[in-house]
Symmetry: C2
Subunit: 329 residues, 2 copies
């Protein structure tokens, strides 16, 4: 229940970051990410968190750890758990740091300060970006007619299904997606060995590749009840997270969709009317997520930015019992 | 999810109190209790909260709103939502205010400062305390053999079943209690008209009377995994909260059990070996709760104190958007 401390009683809100100035050249701040167990008395230290990185960027600017540079201020951050380096670009209009703003992220109504979160070289090389060497191909899933898919590794390994080729729209409700989980698992397990994600004789897992549907934009209502027009976004995306429909889209999956959007013939660029390195607006059940590839060379995005938001909630002094005291047990 | 603010994503942890010095003679501090809706954008202002009162007592002492008076410091608090006046007695050993302590409450492992929370005149008059005029009686529930019950109104209207008379122990597991919910609802609905809680022609509800089993102490393991011996407590209690087993016991129910413990022949005093105005230790699924009646006149407890704990977690400055701004929506 997390009655004893500050946090929320869900894995999404039970997180902390320890921030310090970085000694590494070219890096502004280091942050150590803690996934705090709920009711377990334990902390998991091996992963990274994009939402925390977004918060760290605003924190670093608001606390003067990085000098403000005009309307936008860049923060280079190193996640010390994984070694990953990310950039946050914080809106500082007129050189002023704000606590709040008007930017929202899908699934929340709170207005925050716009923060662009940039992944560097998420695709590595062309061979890594397209593990099968093709931007799109037909995939036979079980005994059914083949479906059109793009298998892309950028941020994470992702298999994207052209919804129309599978008799879907890509704008399905979460309920409809739930009914498609067994089929999408079969797509995932079929794609895994083709993407080099399965050891010979091994059993396919459900973490990777990430799997989802893409389709053309259509009007729909978000899970928060907002009406979205077909003109408000560029491509419908419906992802799974493990074996459940994702209410929005993971940051690394958004990176992969944007990378696919760069590629001639991919299921994404065919939906959007051709390859693009402009902002790509993804329509997800919870709302629209904007993502953009920049610094593109030889079809490889060297930088992929996801539009996020952060908000200062509080400055707090937290009372912690001394280690070894009965209260610290 | 309460991503936008400070709180927890459960009703138990999504609460706030606004504290101020009281202008009322004999009252130290006023507090306004807010039950903050989760995902509703609304706040409920009509109820009180004993756990919040416990926290307010420690807050008032630690912030100097009440002068420290030796090893224990009393805080008289008025809940401005309901007008209820409660007393908190905060442990201040040697005249020092502590942030933490060794006192726990059932269901949490965190050590806090001991706070006795006292309800004044929870039973009103003898006629109100015993709505049927009897400390215990046989109650026929459906077609089964009668069971022995005490119907008591102190803090809240409560019907307590002598577990042995119903083929139970009073130390049942939560799973076993779940199976008994339909039967205990029948007990509640049978007792309601006898306690004057049902309008003629009305349908019985599930909020009152509160209903539970009492029995002798036996060794058991709490929901946190602690071993409790039969000598560690005085009476086993298993309550429902609405139509589910309560993992511990509500504060007002604890008051009613203590009041019943004062009465010759009640199902509580028969279990404890006779009426008592000493501390009564109630064994609940989550752990032991101590409660005591004092200032007893004519069998009526004018003060009932429940042993609780509070802990200072943080001092925080919370950033709130200005009313009317887009961010405040």
């Amino acid at each position: 229940m997390e009655l004893d401390g500050v946090g929320g009683a869900t894995p999404t809100t039970s997180k902390a970051a320890v921030v310090s100035a970085s000694s590494q050249p070219g890096v502004d701040v280091d942050y150590l990410f803690a996934q705090v167990g709920i009711g377990t008395g334990s902390v998991e230290w091996t992963s990274n968190c994009g939402n925390c990185a977004t918060g760290v960027a605003l924190y670093a600017v608001s606390k003067g750890m990085v000098p403000v540079t005009g309307d936008r201020t860049r923060v280079v951050m190193r996640n010390t758990n994984t070694g990953a380096v990310l950039e946050g670009t914080v809106d500082t209009p007129g050189g002023v740091v704000h606590h709040f703003g008007r930017q929202t992220v899908p699934g929340t109504r709170a207005g925050g300060v716009a923060v662009g979160l940039t992944f560097r070289n998420p695709a590595g090389t062309t061979a890594l970006l397209l593990p099968t060497g093709q931007a799109a191909q037909d995939l036979r899933v079980g005994a059914a007619e083949p479906v059109r898919v793009s298998m892309v590794t950028a941020g994470a390994p992702v298999v994207l299904v052209d919804a129309a080729s599978a008799g879907r729209t890509g704008a399905e409700s979460l309920e409809r997606m739930s009914a498609d989980v067994p089929w999408l698992r079969t797509v995932r397990h079929t794609a895994a060995p083709l993407m080099g994600l399965l050891q010979p004789g091994g059993e396919p897992g459900d973490a990777v590749p990430k799997v989802g549907l893409v389709g053309p934009p259509v009007p729909y209502t978000t899970t928060l009840g907002e009406s979205i027009g077909a003109e408000d976004y560029d491509v419908s995306v419906r992802m799974l997270t493990m074996n459940a429909p994702h209410s929005a889209i993971g940051l690394t999956s958004a990176v992969a969709v944007a990378a696919a959007g760069l590629l001639q013939g991919s299921v994404v660029s065919r939906t959007t009317g051709g390859p693009t390195d402009e902002w790509l607006r993804l329509g997800t059940p919870a709302g629209v997520v904007a993502v953009r590839c920049t610094d593109v060379r030889d079809g490889l995005p060297h930088r992929v930015t996801v539009q996020r938001a952060a908000r200062l909630l509080a400055d707090a002094r937290i009372y912690v019992p001394e280690a070894g005291s009965p209260q610290a047990a």
